[in-house]
């Protein structure tokens, strides 16, 4: 967690765009997906990278319900964290709008930026559709 109010360029713009429904991922000339900030494709080294619209929905690949959080999520626990496959790229986020005990692998979710109940910071959220 950043100690100051200074933004993390690339990441904070992405969160802001995602909050407006304009989430994107980065795609290199060879079609590899990745997340910002990124100057070089981690798969192939291509520096030809462009922002591409993130698919509307993704599928949960694995999930855990965390009961012992870091201090930054003290008031949020228990919460479900999932790895979601959006096709060209995957994201890790918190599953919202569903009882944490009902979250399971294979569930289809859409990105929805939420806020931490502990810190008020923006958090990558995932809502079942």
């Amino acid at each position: 967690m950043s100690e100051s109010d200074v933004a993390d360029a690339g990441f904070d713009e992405w969160l802001a765009a995602a909050a407006e429904g304009d989430a994107y991922y980065l795609e290199c000339a060879n079609g590899h997906g990745s997340l910002p900030p990124r100057r070089v494709c981690p798969d192939c080294g291509s520096t030809d990278i462009a922002e591409v619209e993130l698919p509307e929905t993704g599928e949960i690949r694995t999930v855990t319900v965390t009961h012992v959080p870091t201090p930054a999520f003290e008031e949020d626990a228990p919460y479900a964290t999932a790895v979601v496959d959006f096709g060209p790229v995957r994201l890790t986020g918190q599953v919202v709008g569903i009882d944490v005990g009902d979250v399971e692998t294979g569930l289809t979710v859409a990105l929805e930026i939420t806020t931490s109940e502990t810190t008020g910071e923006r958090v990558i959220g995932l809502r079942p559709v």
Partner: protein
């Protein structure tokens, strides 16, 4: 490639000593290592030291020279940070230095002070081994990341929490005779299953404890050991290192550890052995599921079958390939920066016949130490062999 001799080993007890500084912990481990080795401090040409969270727990950077000083050694010193694989990485660098002839005698080890941070503070500190922007800020903790892998494993290969519980039971059993272990206490499968959840499916007894402790090794060249008539029957004969994408979500398979596979393959080839030659191993069981992933990455179990190894007795002290005879991270404890070198200490003692559990591996000649960082974005593997 010439072998590297383990001339002396030292460990502190692992456990709960929040008031002790890491410089004090490391000093204690080095005193034992020097005494055992018979090597004078003046002969040390480099100090390689592993530590992960010193900035957070002790407000201390630049720890290399501090630790050389604590050990009473006048030699250039470097700190290695590679999360939980910090001192495994330091050992690998020491081996390479000795093999190239750059150094004949190296002091290598590590230390970590953690319990002074408390559970919440240590959880926060450990989490920095993950991608801060894309994992930690989404609420991923270190147990949470391994829980994600455990669930992915169950979905891919089957298995259940009870299978994992047998790993914790086994490692606690192995630690009963290890006086350096944090937990010298037997547990039962029901204890694991009934423990409070940390990150489901993992509970409190699936997780290694938060620990303070240090480890040290005096490593020498073959020539130095011969010239000085050292009693050093155990050699590091193979070393390997692997890497992977930082964030778990960027791995093709969420329930595999290719970095450990790469490190293992390199170490086996380097030593001229294969998985079938391994008589026993110390693997990085920071969580029960981590032992499963390690066994499969090292080819000690086929893919998808590591989950049943402890339950079916293949990896228990009397099994065909005993795993974590020290108690592992699970019961011995996991002072992060000390762990990699401490595994080499345990393997050396087991092979040399000096370990309380040596009787279980009396005829063993070849063993492996596997050290992993983060969700195994970093891994080192070492092969050790003993003269018999």
């Amino acid at each position: 490639m010439s072998d590297v001799r383990v001339a002396g080993t030292g460990l502190t007890s692992f456990g709960n000593s929040p008031e002790r500084t890491s410089r004090d912990l490391f000093a204690e481990a080095t005193i034992t290592a020097f005494e055992e080795s018979g090597v004078p401090r003046d002969d040390v040409e480099a100090v390689l030291y592993g530590n992960f969270m010193g900035e957070l727990s002790e407000h201390q950077g630049h720890q290399g020279p501090l630790m050389a000083e604590a050990a009473g050694v006048q030699a250039p010193a470097t700190r290695y940070e590679s999360a939980c694989a910090s001192s495994g990485t330091a050992v690998r660098e020491a081996v390479k230095r000795i093999r190239t002839g750059e150094n004949d005698v190296v002091l290598v080890g590590g230390a970590e002070r953690m319990t002074n941070l408390g559970t919440a503070g240590a959880t926060e500190a450990l989490a920095i081994a993950a991608d801060d922007l894309w994992e930690v800020r989404a609420g991923v903790t270190f147990p949470g990341a391994y829980a994600l892998m455990a669930q992915a494993y169950f979905d891919a290969f089957g298995g259940e929490h009870e299978d994992l519980a047998h790993i914790a039971v086994k490692n606690h059993e192995n630690a009963l005779s290890n006086e350096n272990a944090q937990y010298q206490r037997a547990i039962e499968v029901s204890d694991v299953l009934e423990a409070p959840p940390v990150s489901e499916p993992l509970g409190l007894y699936d997780a290694c404890p938060i620990s303070d402790g240090a480890s040290a090794l005096v490593l020498t060249s073959e020539a130095y050991a011969e010239e000085h008539d050292l009693e050093a029957p155990v050699a590091i004969t193979g070393t390997g290192q692997g890497g992977d994408r930082m964030a778990l979500h960027d791995r093709e398979h969420l329930a595999r550890s290719p970095a450990a596979r790469e490190a293992g393959a390199e170490a086996y080839a380097d030593a001229g052995v294969d998985a079938g030659d391994v008589d026993f191993a110390e693997v990085h069981d920071c969580f029960t599921i981590a032992e499963v992933l390690a066994l499969e990455a090292l080819d000690l179990e086929p893919l998808g079958e590591g989950i049943s190894a402890a339950r079916d007795g293949r990896t228990t002290a009397d099994g065909e390939t005993p795993i974590n005879l020290s108690g592992g991270l699970k019961a011995k404890g996991h002072p992060v920066g000390a762990t990699g070198a401490s595994q080499i200490v345990e393997v050396t003692e087991l092979l040399a016949g000096h370990h309380p559990n040596s009787d279980h591996v009396a005829d063993a000649t070849t063993a492996v130490a596997h050290n992993a960082g983060g969700t195994v974005a970093s891994a080192t593997v070492h092969v050790l062999e003993v003269d018999r």
